[in-house]
């Protein structure tokens, strides 16, 4: 049961081979059995899940079910869930019971999906390894000595170990795609603001984007159908007509022009990963795609620009956490400044404090032009690079991550080294483009991810190519042996 795709599970539910309550119990049992090894969930909502599953069964019996009604899922703990702890991986919000639901959560509930719980994550989504969470690191199901990637590492580990059939994540600089790659999954970062950000705890508002992490492109398409919609409560939400992202999965990809950015295949890329990607490229070539060398000349500048823009935005967004209205408050403050400083000093972890301080510095008088304004101009260059590339090709292909999953603790002493884990994913966020990662093989038993980047709102095309690849290969069907 646990290795079935969403389509297979939906068929099983609709043909009454099992009930949603049975399916939910099955995954809750797996969480009970395996979560201690992985630490992939912060909160398990068993009672709520069973109640939702019961309601889903009634919908299924009455013939009023949607396609995903009754399917269990997990939400990253960055999405507000009414009446349920929403910690964002932080001590600051360890006692925060959200008073409302994020739009993403509401949409999943309306579609009849069943929430198993809230998944672990880097604190306030700041990290590439899931080691900055207040609730401890998440382990990679393929190798418990390795990180699952971040910041949506709890969601990725839960899906990879089949503790949940699918999960939500968020991607500010690669936080859906990089953990999907490191855990052997399919993860999609949609076009900026295609999925509502209402109720998603903000890190860097011009970059953050929620999306699905699942086993296959088809699964991801099915959940994107639920998530992607205009939301009047999000003032940046895209007024884009609803699409059926499943409808083009079986289109031929013959004649599709795919660009290979030379800057993504340079010396920073592990040669083993390069070889795995070469095999995947040949597979797509046999399916009829054509490949063309292209250039994204300012790629190397994306990470430095990101590490000014994201901290600048986070220093502003996280100013709301001051110990006054909700969240952590320090003991016995002497005055209001002491209340602010100690609540924030004690409530935030080291990486969050580093980024707030960098952001405060970059926005301060005398440094604004040199850092923040310059980073915004570099962002323009990155965006122009993509615009020029999309005049030549339909899709851009490259690695998702320069290495496979690294070991726990390997990069924690060197923030810059950690930041470079996201060198191939960050440019996409700066430009606001859609991109996905799919599994294409292994190096030393650790999964390798391939990234496909599309032009604005070309999610259907990305999913089509990914699905066609997955029809020809079985990498997406591999299960970590310990969780088989």
């Amino acid at each position: 049961m646990h290795n079935k795709t969403l389509t297979e599970l939906a068929q099983a539910l609709q043909q009454r081979q099992c009930s949603s309550v049975e399916l939910t119990r099955y995954f809750l049992d797996r969480i009970e059995r395996y979560n201690a090894q992985l630490n992939s969930f912060i909160t398990v909502t068993a009672e709520i899940a069973l109640a939702q599953a019961h309601t889903a069964d009634q919908r299924l019996q009455s013939g009023k079910a949607d396609w995903l009604t009754g399917i269990p899922m997990a939400h990253k703990d960055i999405f507000c869930t009414q009446g349920i702890k929403t910690s964002c991986g932080s001590k600051m919000l360890d006692n925060f019971i959200a008073p409302y639901n994020a739009t993403v959560v509401e949409k999943c509930q309306a579609a009849g999906l069943v929430m198993l719980g809230k998944t672990n994550m880097d604190e306030f989504a700041m990290g590439s390894s899931n080691e900055t969470s207040y609730y401890g690191p998440v382990k990679n199901p393929w190798d418990l000595q390795a990180v699952p990637g971040g910041s949506s590492g709890g969601s990725a580990a839960a899906v990879a170990a089949r503790l949940a059939p699918i999960a939500t994540g968020t991607d500010t600089g690669g936080s859906i795609r990089q953990p999907a790659a490191l855990c052997g999954l399919t993860g999609l970062k949609p076009t900026y603001s295609l999925v509502s950000r209402y109720g998603m705890i903000a890190f860097a508002s011009s970059l953050d984007q929620g999306g699905p992490i699942g086993l296959t492109a088809q699964d991801v398409a099915l959940l994107l159908n639920v998530l992607a919609d205009f939301d009047p409560r999000d003032s940046t939400s895209l007024a884009h007509p609803s699409e059926d992202y499943q409808s083009h999965l079986n289109d031929s990809i013959a004649g599709i022009k795919i660009g290979l950015p030379q800057e993504y295949f340079g010396e920073g890329l592990s040669s083993d990963i390069g070889q795995v990607l070469d095999v995947a490229i040949k597979e797509l070539e046999q399916a009829g795609a054509t490949f063309h060398d292209i250039h994204l000349p300012n790629t190397a500048l994306a990470v430095p620009a990101y590490y000014i823009i994201a901290p600048a935005e986070c220093s502003s967004n996280l100013s709301r956490f001051d110990g006054v209205r909700f969240g952590y408050r320090c003991q016995d403050p002497t005055d209001i400044i002491d209340l602010y400083k100690r609540s924030r000093g004690e409530g935030f972890g080291a990486e969050v404090k580093r980024r707030i301080i960098i952001g405060t510095y970059a926005l301060s008088a005398g440094y604004y032009d040199a850092y923040y304004l310059q980073a915004q101009k570099i962002r323009r260059l990155i965006s122009q690079d993509f615009a020029a590339a999309f005049k030549e090709v339909d899709i851009i292909l490259g690695p998702t991550s320069p290495t496979t999953a690294f070991n726990l603790g390997e990069k924690t002493d060197d923030p810059v080294k950690m930041y470079l884990s996201d060198i191939y994913t960050i440019p996409v966020n700066l430009a606001g483009l859609p991109a996905l990662s799919i599994p294409v093989g292994f190096v030393k038993q650790r999964p390798v991810g391939m990234q496909l980047i599309g032009n604005y709102l070309r999610e259907a095309q990305l999913l089509n190519i990914a699905h066609q690849y997955q029809q020809r290969t079985a990498w997406h069907r591999q299960i970590p042996p310990q969780f088989a």
Binding site: D322, I336, D338, R354, Q374, K377
Partner: protein
């Protein structure tokens, strides 16, 4: 760009974050490394470029200035650290 201890303390104060004395050297080291890393942006001539603040160049959509939410003050204050008579309590600023 290398930061000094006093600068880190000053920025942390501006950001309203307390840092323990023992942690400041490591913060100073890491923050200096990050600033040195981002310095490479300055090698690029960007005089002719317009800064890009939003990936889709969009501006925030406005809505009519009418009340659309019901008052949920009591509900929201159930998660507050300290409240009294509908107000959030904080330490005295002036004696």
């Amino acid at each position: 760009m290398s930061l000094q201890k006093a600068e880190v303390e000053k920025i942390a104060h501006l950001a309203r974050i307390s840092l323990s004395e023992a942690d400041i050297p490591l913060y100073t080291h890491h923050l200096s490394n990050i600033l040195a890393f981002v310095e490479q942006m300055n090698r690029v001539d960007t005089d002719s470029l317009t800064p890009m603040a939003h990936p889709l160049e969009a501006t925030a959509r406005l809505r009519p200035d009418i009340v659309s939410e019901t008052n949920q003050r009591d509900h929201f204050q159930t998660i507050a650290p300290q409240v009294e008579a509908g107000l959030y309590l904080v330490p005295k600023v002036i004696e």
